[in-house]
């Protein structure tokens, strides 16, 4: 008996292609979509990197080096929003004698405008901004009493928090390396000057933690110049409590002694500081991780959207979920057409004074209004509980909601017209809607997708709707900026609606 029951189950499954589709094909489709999003499936090459935009108020050697460092990082895809008014020169030395020229400085308003545009384009996960007072080299940090640190701003729209952590770490690493290089160069110069290579090497290994950093000291990039400006080593360390382990011999060569008691920190006073010895650059080397960001570096993370909005990200989640369920409810309502056809109610209505156009239009309008209401309820709840500031974006919200609901209504009506039965529509709609939602960003944030997947997502209503809501709630763009999204959605609504009207003639053909 159990075998017979089992047989019935399998026979029914075998005779029902829609159920087979849901059981076997659907999981494969979803697996493929998620695999494509989260792995290197169809997203290969550079489009899995964190996309970093670069803008500096003026071109400096240190900025140039930082940018080069970022470009060489394999996990970043770095491009310039603005190359500075000066063309970036490969001749770094030409930037050493940096005197900020007013003509070459990009003003704050222009930078803010370009950053805003870049963020709204969606092409960047993060933008690195260097201010006008960004130093030309590390030595400059001690030139000016008022300049306490290299200021680097990371501008994020909050969509990709991973990007912030990653870039912060990389930038900190750059400065740590620069300082390590500088210190190592200093020590190297001390060591070689003393002719006691072995001792220096011993000191080097313990003092700054490894060959990697020391190799940087041989780079004639920045560190040499930093140390070129130093006075005699004994003078440099004269104020240090450990100055006694430096010794200058009769030939004037300074060497390091007592290497077993190398101090954990000391003060380096550059030559320019001689007149004002009160200021110094304190460098932590030994016993401290190189990646630590000290006072020489100030990384600030800015989120312009967050500054004016309490919870902009929630609006995106609300939109994503709303569009997903809008598609389901729209197809559910459109399925009533199939139920009416199956029961003969449609025939009865067609025989009445209502024509096919009235029926299709009436149902489309009903689904549209219901969709608008559904999204509105979702956003009202989001406003009440999560404070998404709906009141400040009513117009944009209305425009996007109407466009989205219209496109969805046409899509649902077309599906219902193409399917032969309610059961068929259910199966087909589940496959299509879940696929569209996965690709279009209702399930997975679009920023987590590869560029190719994002482009692919443009074939879905979800992506256009979410892009539109993003502009409204996240970027707080004016309604005029929604014209692309609205055109696509309303255009789709029109085309699919007309197709529905044409194909719905089949109801009259029986």
């Amino acid at each position: 008996m159990i075998l017979t029951i089992l047989r019935i189950l399998f026979l029914r499954l075998r005779n029902n292609p829609l159920e087979l589709l849901l059981v076997f094909v659907m999981p494969v489709i979803f697996f493929s979509i998620f695999a494509a999003i989260f792995s290197n499936g169809i997203a290969t090459g550079s489009d899995k990197k964190v996309r970093v935009g670069w803008i500096s108020s003026r071109d400096t050697a240190l900025g140039f080096q930082l940018r080069g460092f970022l470009e060489r990082n394999s996990s970043l895809q770095c491009s310039t929003l603005h190359a500075g008014n000066l063309a970036i020169s490969e001749d770094v030395d030409s930037m050493q004698e940096d005197k900020p020229e007013e003509d070459n400085i990009l003003d704050d308003a222009t930078m803010a405008s370009r950053i805003s545009e870049a963020q709204k384009s969606g092409r960047y996960d993060l933008i690195i901004k260097l201010p006008a007072d960004f130093p030309n080299d590390l030595a400059h940090l001690t030139d000016d009493e008022n300049q306490s640190a290299c200021k680097v701003s990371l501008i994020t729209d909050g969509q990709n928090p991973m990007a912030v952590s990653m870039v912060t770490s990389i930038v900190s690493g750059f400065f740590a390396q620069k300082k390590a290089t500088a210190a190592a160069g200093q020590l190297m110069s001390l060591g070689t000057a003393g002719g006691d290579g072995e001792r220096v090497n011993g000191f080097r290994g313990r003092g700054i933690g490894g060959e990697q950093s020391m190799s940087g000291a041989r780079d004639q990039n920045r560190g040499d110049r930093f140390f070129d400006a130093l006075r005699e080593p004994t003078d440099i360390f004269k104020d240090d409590e450990n100055h006694h382990w430096l010794r200058t011999d009769s030939d004037g060569v300074t060497s390091v002694h007592r290497i077993s008691v190398v101090p954990s920190r000391w003060t380096i006073v550059p030559m320019q500081q001689e007149a004002n010895s009160a200021r110094s650059l304190e460098t932590v080397l030994a016993e401290q991780p190189l990646s630590d960001v000290d006072d020489a570096l100030s990384i600030t993370v800015e989120n312009p959207q967050a500054a004016t909005q309490e919870n902009p990200r929630i609006a995106m989640y609300a939109a994503g979920i709303a569009v997903l369920f809008l598609l389901f409810s729209a197809t559910g309502n459109a399925a009533a057409l199939l139920e009416e056809a199956e029961s003969g109610t449609l025939d009865r209505i067609l025989v009445s004074q209502a024509g096919l156009f009235h029926i299709v239009s009436g149902k489309w309008l009903g689904i549209l209004l219901l969709g608008c209401l559904q999204i509105t309820v979702m956003f009202l709840w989001a406003e009440a509980v999560f404070k998404i500031q709906l009141g400040q974006h009513v117009l944009g919200f209305c425009v996007m909601t109407f466009s989205t609901a219209a496109a969805t209504a046409s899509f649902a009506m077309l599906l219902a017209t193409l399917c032969k039965s309610r059961a068929q529509l259910n199966a087909v709609s589940v496959v299509i809607i879940l696929s569209m939602s996965a690709v279009g960003g209702s399930m997975i944030p679009r920023f987590a997708m590869s560029d190719r997947m994002k482009e692919f997502g443009k074939w879905t209503f979800n992506a256009w709707a979410l892009d539109g809501y993003q502009k409204v709630f996240w970027y707080q763009s004016p309604v005029s900026s929604l014209k692309t999204e609205v055109t696509v959605l309303l255009g789709s609504a029109l085309v699919l609606g007309l197709l529905t009207l044409i194909l719905s003639r089949r109801w009259k053909r029986g």
Binding site: G344, D347, R348, V351, S352, Q353
Partner: protein, 311 residues
């Protein structure tokens, strides 16, 4: 093409040589028909005969390939347009999640009945369909018979001159069936023409004024039951004599079978039976058994359409 006998009153619906190909085959092969006001016309035929296609053509859901279907004005002086039509599909073509009242309201509005007129008509129709006590009930909670009555009620709110019903009594108990035919007879009494399809032979025999038998897309016979029997079998009753031994004498008007143990004679009415028995007595014919069989629509139907399965 099959012609029906010319009616004496002006028809409300005329079909002239209607042809329709449907899903690759000729579903209607030149149907001609007239429907009279106040007439209850029963369409009878095997599955696939073309009944539903014909109803869909009449209701305008399908356009005939050739021929003409004319709905005549309700009155000759009226120039406002053709007589109105109501359709009762075979399935329950109502909204199960709406109440009886709400179903009547929406279908009334779809037929252009609005306002006070709609409320008046709903009240009348609820009374007519014996659903007055269930106005607030959801359609899906009604019994099968009530749902059928609601199904019909939704189609008459606009007082159609022609009502098309596709198997209106499927799956209902005898009481509900009688009630449904009583409703239709009320309609015909008010002058509406009712055309129904059914497989229930006794319903057609009992209630329909005229019967049309369809097969293979054509009307193979039409008329009253006695007309049909006359056209197909001849006499409506048959006297059958059975003998234990072969009967060798001649019996006028009787036809013997090959074994000479059975003889049959057709009679026009049961009133002729005593006369037949009297003749047999005069001839000293004493059969072992005398059967009298009356012919009905089933005999006509099988005679016209054969006994082979159609599907």
């Amino acid at each position: 093409m099959t012609d029906l006998s010319a009616p004496t009153v002006a028809p409300v619906l005329t079909l002239e040589n209607v042809r329709k190909k449907y899903r690759g085959r000729e579903a209607l092969k030149g149907i001609s028909l007239e429907l009279l006001p106040g007439e209850l016309l029963g369409f009878f035929g095997p599955n696939g005969a073309g009944k539903t296609t014909m109803i869909r053509c009449i209701s305008g859901l399908l356009r005939p390939d050739s021929g003409r279907i004319t709905r005549h004005p309700a009155t000759k002086s009226e120039s406002s347009g053709p007589i109105r039509l109501g359709l009762v599909p075979q399935n329950l073509a109502v909204y199960p999640d709406l109440t009886v009242q709400q179903n009547l309201e929406v279908f009334g509005r779809l037929e252009g009945v609005i306002g006070r007129q709609l409320q008046t008509r709903i009240t009348e129709v609820l009374e007519w369909a014996a659903l007055k006590d269930r106005t607030k009930s959801l359609a899906k909670t009604l019994s099968g018979g009530m749902q059928r009555r609601l199904n019909i009620a939704c189609s008459v709110l606009h007082r159609p001159g022609i009502l098309l019903l596709d198997e209106p009594t499927v799956g209902v108990d005898p009481q509900s069936r009688e009630r449904i035919y009583a409703m239709m007879e009320e309609l015909t009494a008010q002058g509406a023409a009712v055309l129904l399809t059914t497989h229930q032979l006794e319903e057609v025999e009992t209630h329909c004024d005229r019967i049309v038998v369809m097969d293979h897309g054509t009307i193979v016979a039409s008329g009253t039951l006695s007309d049909l029997v006359q056209q197909t079998i001849g006499q409506p009753h048959r006297v059958i004599l059975r003998f234990d031994l072969p009967y060798t004498k001649q019996l006028a008007a009787f036809t013997f079978d090959e074994s000479q143990t059975s003889a049959t004679c057709a009679i026009r009415s049961m009133k002729e039976l005593p006369q037949v028995l009297s003749v047999l007595k005069q001839l000293d014919c004493e059969p072992s058994q005398i059967d009298v069989r009356s012919y009905g629509l089933q005999d006509v139907f099988l005679e016209l359409t054969g006994r082979s399965l159609r599907e």
